[in-house]
């Protein structure tokens, strides 16, 4: 039985490989570019802002990769706020064992929606935000290979989000309560129409992500500038390329599985029912997508940190090519570990052991990267600006997240800890502590470019420290809760002491909620800082991070572009430049922070 299902999954994977291989043969991407670039409008895809229509029409019609990047960013930050508030409700609910504020079914609904929102409406889009804005700048391309497809891919997302949240937005239909994994048979049996809407919305975001991925692959392969080749392609673009390949293999599979689930729910098909393929078939299909998905989410943030961290350590990334090759290795291996999420399903031990083997192998490339980051910091001239603080926090959180993951990859350990809060702690160290932190590093680092202004440095540091402390309190408490035996996904926990020592469990839930509150305060400061500084922050000069002096060989292409843009703006008689802002105040930062850095 398990054998057949596995074989089926492997077959589908092979089919996908074949299709991609075929499609790479069929077309010469470059030849399509001028058309997709909008024929007569071709000129417009360069960086001349004045020719764009003003106001809202500009944002609705734009095909400029930078505008689309900003649209993705705004969308993702809004989703982050929604998902974050849901997370806070979850934590508030669990301060007392009987559930403090909401009904069990509503708890299940926000738990489901929190997961889906954070992964699909925040995670993937915020990465696309950076990638859309910066990949073309970094590889010296005029725009994406298919600017219009780029715009379409973005505009599929807002309806996707409305569908995902449809259960909450339309009164009376009931929000999805399937959890983000949508395990059958529960996901088939639940009657809320909100679940159908959510599946459709998810499908739509998957289509959008796939379109974006194809665009990035085409762009990086065909639109590079003359002086950019595989040997000097920047690390962020490498991770986007790998991520896009993962998306191409993983999301269509999820799409198919979602359609099958929808049919099971509405048309009485039996793909995942007991008399059909069985509930395990869903798990195989879901995790064949689901594990690569976690690397889809984590590889570009790793690229961001590999890109940003050296710039504030004053030296090049140590072992640049190690990082490239290990990124590719993660890309491949991530497709061979999916059933480590299914060790407790009664899968044959021999199969389980082969998934364990690949899971242990995939830990190596991740560890290699960690050593490269640490070595880059070693003896570097460290400047603790906000982006750098987030990079360092990222490395530290990644160590905890990664090590807890390797433990879970060991079958005997997983059998004890599976479906406890330990797993929740593990992946939140990664999704919040790693992915979130890298995203913040990216936002602060490039804030001067996409706003032309500098953020408030003090608030940036407050944001970092509250996030760092909040993350570690919250998710470490969850690791402990897992050791104590607290099962995950419970709306209440008035269980008897045989499951877990209740008094301690209550305490650690309290600790986790306190941590979440600290996190929330930090994020409020972040939003305030971004909005206020975007509107009123001081204008920046051409080199806001003072890289020309601190690390001249790391003065990136995107800042060369930024410098050119400022020059043309000035020539137009644009606003006067406040060149002395040097927002990160590098000189001052170096003075006050370098001594601490040397201690570490």
């Amino acid at each position: 039985m398990a054998g057949e299902q596995l074989a089926l999954t492997v077959l589908m994977g092979a089919l996908l490989v074949a299709i991609v291989a075929l499609s790479t043969r069929l077309e010469n991407w470059r030849s399509y570019t001028p058309l997709a670039g909008g024929g007569a409008l071709g000129e417009e895809s360069t960086t001349v802002h004045r020719e764009k229509p003003a106001g809202i029409v500009r944002w609705l019609t734009t095909v400029d990769h930078k505008d689309i990047g900003i649209l993705y960013g705004v969308y993702a930050v809004l989703a982050f706020a929604v998902g974050g508030l849901m997370a806070f409700l979850i934590r508030a609910q669990l301060v007392v064992p009987s559930g403090a504020i909401i009904e069990n079914s509503f708890y299940n609904a926000i738990l489901t929606s929190h997961g889906i929102t954070m992964l699909f409406l925040f995670g993937t889009p915020i990465i696309a935000a950076f990638a859309n804005y910066f990949v073309p700048l970094l590889i010296g391309a005029d725009d994406m290979a298919f600017p219009r497809i780029n715009a379409i891919a973005f505009w599929l997302l807002p309806p996707g989000a409305l569908l995902v949240w449809g259960g909450f937005l339309i009164p009376g239909i009931g929000a999805s309560q399937t959890s983000w994994t949508m395990y059958a048979p529960l996901s088939i049996e639940q009657t809320q129409a909100g679940a159908d809407l959510m599946l459709l919305g998810l499908h739509l975001t998957g289509v959008a992500a796939t379109m974006g991925a194809i665009n990035f692959i085409a762009t990086i392969f065909t639109e590079r500038g003359d002086d950019v080749n595989w040997a000097n392609l920047d690390i962020f673009s490498w991770t986007i390329l790998t991520q896009s390949a993962l998306i191409l293999f993983a999301f269509p599979l999820l799409g198919s599985a979602l359609i099958m689930l929808l049919m099971d729910r509405n048309l009485a098909t039996t793909f995942f029912t007991v008399d059909g393929g069985g509930a395990l078939l869903w798990q195989h299909l879901f995790w064949f997508f689901g594990h690569p998905e976690v690397y889809i989410l984590v590889l570009p943030p790793m690229g961001l940190v590999s890109y940003i961290l050296p710039r504030f350590a004053g030296r090049k990334l140590f072992g640049f090519k190690f990082v490239v090759y290990s990124t590719l290795a993660i890309g491949v291996l991530s497709f061979g570990v999916w059933a480590h999420h299914m060790f407790s399903t009664g899968m044959d031990v021999r199969l389980a052991s082969s998934f364990m083997a690949v899971s242990l192998a995939i830990a190596i490339p991740s560890a290699v990267k960690t050593f490269n980051w640490i070595t880059t910091l070693w003896n570097g001239k460290i400047r603790l600006t906000a982006p750098m603080l987030f990079c360092i926090g990222f490395v530290s959180n990644f160590i905890i997240g990664g090590v807890t993951g390797v433990f879970l990859a060991a079958i005997p350990v997983d059998k004890v800890l599976h479906d406890t809060y330990y797993v929740v702690g593990h992946f939140h160290y990664i999704v919040m502590g790693v992915i979130g932190f890298a995203v913040f590093a990216g936002i602060y680092y490039w804030f001067p470019i996409f706003t032309g202004r500098m953020y408030q440095r003090k608030l940036g540091k407050w944001h970092f420290w509250l996030s760092m402390i909040g993350t570690n309190i919250t998710f470490f408490a969850m690791l402990v809760l897992g050791y104590l035996g607290m099962p995950r996904r419970y709306a209440t926990y008035e269980f008897d002491a045989a499951i877990a020592p209740l008094a301690q469990v209550i305490n650690f839930h309290l600790v986790a909620t306190v941590g979440a509150t600290i996190l929330l305060v930090g994020q409020l400061i972040f939003v305030w800082n971004i909005v206020q500084s975007w509107l009123e922050g001081p204008h920046v000069g051409p080199d806001p991070w003072n890289l020309k002096e601190e690390a001249p060989e790391l003065y990136g292409r995107e800042y060369v572009w930024h410098e050119n843009r400022l020059e043309t703006a000035l020539a137009d008689g644009g606003e006067e430049e406040d060149v002395a802002t040097d927002g990160g105040e590098p000189t001052d930062a170096a003075d006050e922070d370098a001594p601490d850095a040397a201690d570490e």
Partner: protein, 94 residues
């Protein structure tokens, strides 16, 4: 590996993926040598297929990536030799 198209430096860079390959190879051998749960035509085939396919795919990808990068490097060096600017690429062996 005597017949590789790679120079010493590239080979050294590629060792980073040789380690996971080594782990996969180790498990393949271990599954052959120590086999407490017996042989089953379907299950065991899938078991080896999972680890084996990862081994093969990773080898192929590493080979082609290594080749693409070292070819690009060679081209760049040739161009630079003509112009005399300095290379940006030898950091990994530092």
């Amino acid at each position: 590996m005597g017949l590789t198209p790679f120079d010493r430096e590239t080979l050294l860079d590629l060792t980073v993926n040789v380690i996971p390959l080594g782990i996969l190879g180790f498990f393949i051998l271990a599954f052959i040598v120590v086999n407490p749960f017996g042989w089953d035509p379907v299950i065991s085939t899938i078991q080896f297929a999972i680890v084996g396919s990862m081994f093969v795919l990773l080898t192929i990808l590493t080979y082609y990536a290594g080749k693409a990068i070292s070819d690009a490097e060679a081209e760049m060096e040739a161009a630079e030799a003509a112009e005399g600017t300095d290379a940006e690429t030898d950091e990994s062996t530092a």
